[in-house]
């Protein structure tokens, strides 16, 4: 049974066009899904719908086979959630906040809490407002994972953290939850994080799902052809090549993304289209993302 099932989710805010336009998604146990998209693409809305915080205008959400609006407590006890900007009562000390969470989650692991407190060096007696952003995010992470959730939802979990803290934050989440076979759904603008952690990639653009693929397969299947100087007719010819996805000008060069095997593509472009200068390479996820959602030439 899928841990999270979203079917045809639409959601709009007052006076604005739909933030989500019929997104469907199914996440199996143990998957680590990275959700990427441009700002305003609908990632946060999708994650909030998935966490049972927003009700979809249309479509259905089931988490662990349950409706989060019908049985919210059952669902949320098995869920961990860290928002991009998490609201926290500022006057509580970190220890008090953790104690509050401990009381709310029946599966709270006290040993894990102690381990994390020591490992993350959280000053438990300090009020939240007095902690640095990195320290406060660590407290939130502890609160989200010490009950060993079956599904962890992280919305830009490492936003605003320095690279070291970011890496530590994410790797700790993965390490701890992988032991349980927990499922992780996270969004990020850092493609390196997604590449390092996610097993599956979902790209959202303007409220619609653009890509949903295993990350490794996605990277294997796509390559880019770089033409040092391509006049307009060449671009039109490229469009006719099998597997063409998008092209994008960068300076005088043209980058064209194909869903093809690189060797096969190279021979086709240089032999059939007489483009000897073409260079074929694999792309990093970030370049691929820009190629897919950036402006097309």
């Amino acid at each position: 049974m899928a841990v999270l099932e979203l079917e045809g989710i639409r959601r709009s805010y007052e006076g604005t066009p739909d933030a989500l336009r019929g997104v469907s998604l199914s996440i199996e146990p143990g998957e680590v899904l990275g959700l990427v998209g441009r700002s305003g693409a609908g990632k946060t809305t999708l994650l909030r719908v998935a966490a049972g915080l927003l009700k979809p205008s249309h479509g259905a959400v089931t988490i662990f086979g349950l409706d989060p609006w019908q049985r919210p407590v059952e669902v949320k006890r098995r869920l961990g959630y860290v928002a991009e900007s998490q609201a926290v009562p500022p006057r509580l000390s970190a220890g008090a906040l953790i104690a509050m969470h401990r009381e709310l989650y029946p599966t709270w692991d006290r040993d894990l809490e102690r381990t994390l407190l020591a490992r993350l060096a959280i000053p438990a007696s300090k009020p939240i407002a007095a902690l640095s952003k990195g320290e406060a995010r660590k407290v939130l992470l502890l609160c989200a994972i010490a009950h060993r959730p079956e599904l962890l939802i992280l919305d830009e979990p490492a936003g605003g953290l320095d690279p070291v803290a970011r890496r530590e934050f994410l790797e700790l989440s993965i390490e701890l939850l992988a032991q349980n076979g927990s499922t992780i759904l996270f969004s990020s603008h850092h493609m390196t994080d997604v590449e390092r952690i996610a097993g599956r990639l979902v790209v959202i653009e303007r409220g619609e799902k653009l890509i949903d693929s295993e990350l490794a397969a996605f990277q294997q299947e796509h390559c880019v052809a770089v033409l040092p100087a391509a006049p307009a007719p060449e671009v039109e010819r490229l469009r006719g090549v099998s597997g063409f996805v998008r092209s994008r000008a960068r300076g005088s060069s043209l980058y064209a993304v194909f869903r093809r095997e690189p060797g096969e593509l190279k021979s086709e472009l240089s032999d059939r289209l007489q483009l000897p200068d073409v260079a074929i390479s694999r792309l990093s996820l970030e370049e691929m993302f820009v190629a897919f959602v950036g402006a097309e030439s």
């Binding site: 926290v88 104690a99 029946p106 007095a130």
Partner: protein, 575 residues
């Protein structure tokens, strides 16, 4: 051309068009009050002043143009504008919104600039003074720098007594005194702001540690703790409950709301606050304000805490405050004199309480004594083209004979199931009515007819029902309402419109010198059958209360956290 600093100051304090509403509302209300005063030949300054104060307070509370939104303040300070220019702009806004209409209104009446000084009723003087108290309180509140230098807590505590004392003082000059005091306070505050603008930023000081929340379960030694779950703890999340209670009923604002709710409930149901409709709607507005505040708890809705329990922290504090007030009202009913003296158009009349009044169309029937003396009670029209008029069948004009007095009082007593020998009635009113003593006051304890438990319970049920209906304005599916901003949809407009209507109708009633309140008469009429058939109406009211509460629970379960959470950052920090 508007200077940039003024334009900026306006912009930072008129987010969501609130400032436009404030000025249009305040000036409009002032104009309305002035015209009404001129039309009714009654007190000009206080009426107009009160209109302005009510509208402004309703729209923005007593904060405007106070310290404003902290984020805006930071933004303002980051811009290259001279502190003095910014302070001047704030001051101009203060005067424009609050003081100017007040001072003009005051000059109209007290200085007799137009048409000379007009007679003033005591109620209007009290209201005017209270409104001036609001201005002074605003000045004190606005003077953030002053507060810090003199002790903000003491000043905040002084605000409520200042307003109450102002309402208690019967001299119209007191309002002038407070306005004169408020102006330099504002000026001083702005001067301080110009020199030390950082004082107007939110305090960055570390908040006090409230101490760790103790787990209800003692710490288990490591070597014995082989389990990884704490189910007993999870069954009773007391820490969350304490936190939620602290937010919904622990801060200065919610406490103020709750105290006002208790006082208003007490006043309405005990009879101390005569103006039922306006005060009941004000009570509903307080409930709405508190709910807008407490539904911020939804920002913690990612935690597995049952919505039904969370709802208790939203609904129970105001309902408990109301219940406290209503309970006290049942224990402490206000004296209910059978006749009151009223002065109208230079003559004094004796009138029965509103419950004894009748409604009719056309002229009220003539009341004729056995000796042939007759009197037609004055018709009080409802206005707006209504054919229905209200009248007091026991009304006694000053010019009537002693025997007519005795007959009318005898009729009233008989209808109430009481009696007083005619000679005592004559003794009571032989030397003319005393406006400070009603029939049934201390001299005649046997005529003290308590309001009755049925009336008290029906009134209490009505207040509770109004409060629960008021909660529906805030508690409804969709995103929680931002407490800093009203959502101007049909429900809010209807609620706010009704609120304003009752306030203006009340002003209309106050502007009459006899103080007749048509809405109160209508309500008294509507409520009479409910009281008479309390055995039926009370169970129905209880069922309605239960139904409304269940409806609120269902609606609350479908509520979402606020969409733009960062606007609601008074309670939480965002990490």
């Amino acid at each position: 051309m508007i200077p940039a600093s003024l334009r900026l100051s306006w912009a930072t304090r008129s987010t969501d068009g609130r400032g436009v509403l404030v000025v249009v509302g305040a000036v409009g209300a002032f104009t309305f009050g002035t015209v009404l005063s001129a039309a009714t030949r009654n007190d000009g300054s206080h009426l107009a002043f009160w209109c302005s104060a009510v509208v402004t307070a309703c729209l923005i509370g007593v904060d405007f143009p106070g310290t404003g939104h902290f984020r805006w303040s930071e933004f303002e300070l980051s811009l290259p504008i001279a502190p003095l220019a910014r302070a001047r702009a704030h001051l101009v806004l203060c005067f424009a919104v609050w003081l100017l209409p007040s001072l003009v209104g005051y000059a109209l009446n007290q200085l007799g600039v137009v048409g000379g000084r007009l007679p003033q009723s005591e109620a209007l003087v009290a209201l005017g003074n209270a409104a001036a108290g609001v201005v002074l309180a605003t000045a004190l509140r606005h003077s953030l720098a002053l507060q810090r230098s003199l002790g903000g807590a003491a000043l905040r505590l002084a605000v409520a007594p200042v307003m109450l004392a102002a309402a208690a003082v019967r001299s119209p000059m007191f309002a002038a005194f407070m306005l004169v005091l408020a102006a330099p306070l504002l000026a001083v505050a702005h001067r301080v702001a110009a020199r030390a603008p950082e004082l107007f930023l939110p305090p960055v000081a570390e908040p006090p540690i409230l101490g760790p929340i103790t787990s209800p379960r003692p710490e288990v030694p490591d070597q014995l703790d082989t389990r990884t779950t704490f189910e007993a703890d999870a069954a009773e999340p007391r820490s969350f409950g304490r936190l939620a209670l602290r937010y919904s009923a622990g801060g200065a604002y919610p406490v103020l709301m709750l105290v006002m709710l208790a006082l208003w409930s007490l006043g309405i149901n005990s009879g101390w606050l005569q103006v039922a409709a306006a005060n009941t709607m004000l009570l509903a507005m307080l409930v709405v304000s508190h709910a807008m505040w407490s539904t911020r708890l939804l920002r913690l809705s990612h935690l597995p805490y049952p919505r039904a329990r969370l709802f208790r922290f939203v609904a129970w504090p105001p309902l408990a405050a109301i219940a406290l007030g209503l309970g006290l009202a049942l224990a402490l009913p206000a004296p209910d004199p059978l006749l009151r003296a009223r002065t109208r158009a230079g003559a004094t009349f004796l009138e029965s309480p509103l419950g004894g009044w009748q409604l009719t169309t056309g002229e009220p029937p003539l009341v004729t004594a056995p000796d042939g003396e007759s009197h037609r009670p004055l018709a009080r029209p409802f206005g707006l083209g209504s054919l229905v008029v209200a009248y007091d069948p026991y009304e006694i004009p000053r010019a009537s004979s002693q025997s007519f007095h005795t007959r009318q009082v005898g009729r009233l007593l008989a209808d109430r199931g009481l009696s007083l020998p005619p000679e005592q009635i004559e003794e009571r009113f032989g030397s003319g009515p005393n406006p400070y003593l009603g029939l049934g006051s201390a001299r005649y304890p046997e005529l003290q007819k308590p309001a009755g438990l049925a009336r008290g319970l029906v009134g209490a049920a009505a207040v509770l029902i109004v409060a629960l209906i008021g909660l529906h304005v805030v508690v409804r599916p969709g995103a929680a309402v931002n407490p800093n901003r009203w959502r101007w949809d049909a429900l809010y407009i209807a609620f706010f419109g009704l609120f304003m209507l009752t306030q203006f109708l009340q002003l209309l009633a106050l502007s009459r010198y006899d103080g007749t309140d048509p809405i109160a008469i209508l309500l008294a009429h509507a409520g009479r059958p409910l009281v008479d058939h309390a055995a039926l109406s009370l169970p129905l009211a209880v069922a309605l209360v239960a139904l409304l509460y269940r409806s609120l629970l269902r609606r609350f379960a479908q509520m979402e956290p606020p969409l733009r959470a960062k606007k609601m950052d008074a309670w939480f920090i965002e990490i």
